[in-house]
């Protein structure tokens, strides 16, 4: 049974149709790279999967929940679906550990001690135990993004969504974030990630989805797709981005 199932998803902003009928199925443990030109709707798709955008039509099932916008149902879904943004979006008034502890404490009512232990475990996963009590503005971009990943992981989600999480980073800092993600993939986390790191997508993603003008244009195992791109648009895309 797929853990993510998207059927004929359409999304418009006013008169602009951004997603024009996306269908997608992801099995547990799969790592799916979403590729495509800027504006092709990748972020919108991920945001729809977390309920940050309401869909115009179609159906989403994710992490064992059917997408519904009733507040309680949406929260239940979000407990099982984490998302990490390009711009980190850490809470600036909370330390790294507090950022990670917040949701377990207030959403899951985890006692403070336990939440703190959980936070340390998650910060350990992203290699930032020594930064637990540091505030976001004292952290580098790469460190902030790793805290953001730890913050999502602390809810023990079944699916993780990553939207260009290294795009805002200086090149020398992308590696540390990609390493964390690669380890996560190796642990069996189901992941959907939008990325411009072609090498990473080819190596780590089990499946690649190429989006073009609001539609899934080409999809398959990453090996196949990168080895023998079948549409001219994907070939062109690979050509453009690999130089």
């Amino acid at each position: 049974m797929p853990i993510v199932l998207v059927e004929d998803l359409r999304k418009s902003f006013g008169s602009l149709e951004v997603l024009k009928g996306i269908s997608l199925s992801v099995e547990r443990g799969q790592v799916v790279a979403l590729l495509g030109r800027s504006g092709s709707g990748k972020s919108t798709l991920l945001r729809c999967l977390n309920g940050l955008e309401t869909i115009s039509s179609g159906r989403i099932e994710i992490g064992g929940h059917v997408m519904s916008y009733a507040p309680a149902a949406l929260r239940a879904l979000r407990k099982d679906v984490g998302i990490v943004f390009q711009s980190f979006n850490l809470f600036p008034h909370l330390s790294a550990a507090e950022n990670v502890m917040l949701a377990p404490r207030v959403v899951k009512k985890t006692p403070k001690r336990e939440a703190r232990e959980l936070a340390m475990e998650m910060l350990g996963k992203v290699g930032l135990i020594d930064k637990a009590d540091v505030y976001p503005d004292q952290l580098s971009g790469g460190q902030q993004q790793r805290v953001a990943i730890a913050r999502s992981l602390a809810m023990q989600p079944r699916v993780m969504l990553f939207d260009e999480v290294t795009s805002a980073l200086d090149p020398e800092l992308t590696g540390e974030v990609l390493n964390v993600m690669e380890r996560l993939a190796a642990e069996g986390m189901t992941m959907l990630l939008v990325t411009h790191e072609m090498e990473f997508a080819r190596r780590v993603a089990t499946t690649t989805v190429f989006m073009y003008k609001g539609l899934v244009h080409e999809t398959g195992s990453s090996k196949e797709l990168f080895g023998r791109p079948s549409t001219s648009e994907f070939r062109q895309f690979l050509g453009v981005t690999s130089d």
Binding site: T54, Y69, P71, L74
Partner: protein
């Protein structure tokens, strides 16, 4: 159960209108005089000799940290006690001018300080005279920048004019006090008067805003306000 009766109060419409007219006169006088005083004070503070700067900031701080009513009392009761005779209306205009002047000075100062040195130098390099630089490079953009704050301050001084009724000026609030003691429909009188102030505040605000647009029209600079919660359900 109580019942509102507006008829007795409305029968006094002429008196209310006279009061309203005086409120308008006080407001216009204060805006013109206080605005000019504020601009002069801001320029003195920015460009004057050290002693003058100190004097202006003392003036600004003293006025901004004491109530208008007390300032009015000092003018109205104090001046006659040293032999300067002022009517209640004159005292009101003096107090409102001095009061607005201090707030306007702060606002103008912020505007003037936001003008970059490089722009003044650019003006000089175009062979503009000093007065030309002052008017076109410094003051005009400065005032246009702070116009919204000025407008808020003008509205506040209009509302503050109600306090002049304390020295028995028969502006709108003073007229209301007279009428309510004659009709015994106090609540109704103040509802009407409150509505008149509110209407005038809204009118004055939009009128001053369009004056600003006329005076400082610069195409394409209207700042787009970030919409946050405006979209229902947008923040799920």
């Amino acid at each position: 159960m109580f019942q509102l009766q507006f008829a007795p109060a409305l029968a006094e419409t002429p008196a209310l209108l006279r009061g309203f007219w005086l409120t308008i006169e006080l407001t216009v006088a204060a805006i013109l005089l206080g605005g000019a005083l504020g601009l002069a004070a801001a320029m003195a503070r920015n460009m004057g000799p050290r002693f003058v700067r100190w004097l202006v900031s003392a003036y600004v701080e003293l006025i901004r940290n004491t109530p208008f009513l007390v300032q009015l009392y000092i003018v109205f009761f104090g001046l006659p006690s040293v032999g300067v005779r002022v009517s209640a209306i004159q005292a009101s205009i003096i107090a409102m001018t001095i009061n607005l002047g201090a707030y306007a000075a702060e606002i103008f100062r912020a505007g003037i300080e936001s003008i970059h040195r490089s722009q003044i130098e650019a003006g000089a390099s175009l062979a503009l005279t000093r007065p030309q630089i002052l008017v076109h490079v410094i003051l005009a953009p400065a005032v246009s920048k702070v116009w919204p704050s000025l407008v808020s301050q003008f509205i506040l001084i209009m509302l503050t004019s109600s306090v002049c009724s304390f020295v028995s000026v028969e502006e709108l609030s003073g007229a209301a006090a007279t009428i309510q003691s004659a009709t015994f429909r106090s609540f109704e009188v103040y509802i009407i008067v409150g509505a008149v102030y509110l209407g005038f505040a809204i009118l004055l605000k939009s009128a001053l805003a369009s004056v600003g647009e006329r005076l400082f029209r610069r195409p394409g600079t209207a700042p787009r306000k970030a919409k946050l919660a405006a979209e229902p359900g947008g923040l799920r």
